[in-house]
Symmetry: C2
Subunit: 213 residues, 2 copies
Amino acid sequence: MPEYRLHCFAQSGNSYKAALMLELCGLDWEPVLVRYFDGATRAAEWRSDTNAMGEVPVLEHGGRKLTQSGVILTYLARRAGRFGPENEDEELDILRWMLFDNHKFTSYFATHRFMLSLAGKPSDPAVLSFMRGRVDAALGVVDTYLAKHTFLVGNRATIADLSLAGYMFYPNAETGYDLSLSHPNIHAWRQRLVALPGWKPPYDLMPSALPAT
Amino acid sequence: MPEYRLHCFAQSGNSYKAALMLELCGLDWEPVLVRYFDGATRAAEWRSDTNAMGEVPVLEHGGRKLTQSGVILTYLARRAGRFGPENEDEELDILRWMLFDNHKFTSYFATHRFMLSLAGKPSDPAVLSFMRGRVDAALGVVDTYLAKHTFLVGNRATIADLSLAGYMFYPNAETGYDLSLSHPNIHAWRQRLVALPGWKPPYDLMPSALPAT
């Protein structure tokens, strides 16, 4: 059995953060499909045995079960010696961006995408519009920052970039954004991530949880 | 001048997380009022000089400017030797709860409260209702967890508790929740935090940013 097992599904950008890290570090890992759209994470045994927060991804390694993508990225950076901080200042700066990502960037971008293209039913237009406003504000903060920076922390890719980029590689038709037109600095930054040796898009790294139609 | 300066305002529960930590640790600190409701954090110089993310709190210490409440809590726990992890497992577990807090707990609870009682104009009922649904889900996760745990990590208060409790001490009229009735395990937990030596509520620790009427 591979050393690392990632409970995940391809539509989950939070899963992708961990899957891409495992792949870029060349670690021995396998994806384990979570049938999210069939309700797997809402089941009582998932909540009691695997993750009280009811979310994916979950990483199994050496008897541990780790949840929250930011925790998994931090853990893997230490084990692999890649994409982590070089000193405390960088460590705190990486944490700062990962918290912003969870609070305002991935949080709204992923929810907006889900409502737009994955929920399976139309969303309330007022809620969708509110959410898009939040996404625009967060994208604006990051695009402005990346106008003057190659990566988020230091001059190299770190787990901060892998966290914020979790939902940056899904098709425009899913996300509702063509970032190459709307946010050119974000687009240039994600192209720098694509250029990393071993990079793959989400649907190439993990199995789909959508039921066959 | 005090050793620590916290740019904050009393209505900000994210500021309160840092202010309460400073106070509980008995550190030499002073609050510096940010006139949020007059637009201080939207000003160009705030974004360029202080915080590209446009948020409070900001902690000044020894020439550093730290932003994101989770970063400030992590930094202070190390400096004060209080409320931090005792080993890597606890460190990762604290990070897990702080990320959940930023992603789903404080994030929605604070936004719902702002729309309900601080925005100064009525919110769209559909958006408010959507937000309340998200708050209810997050409160449910934490209340269920606290049915079997005294604190979030280990058997003592840590910065994970101080993070999630950031908005738990505002008046019911502001938050729209009477947690003593709706979520008894969360209520019992916050009472354990109130019992910590030196605890004070937000409006006693920081100046108000609301313009005098």
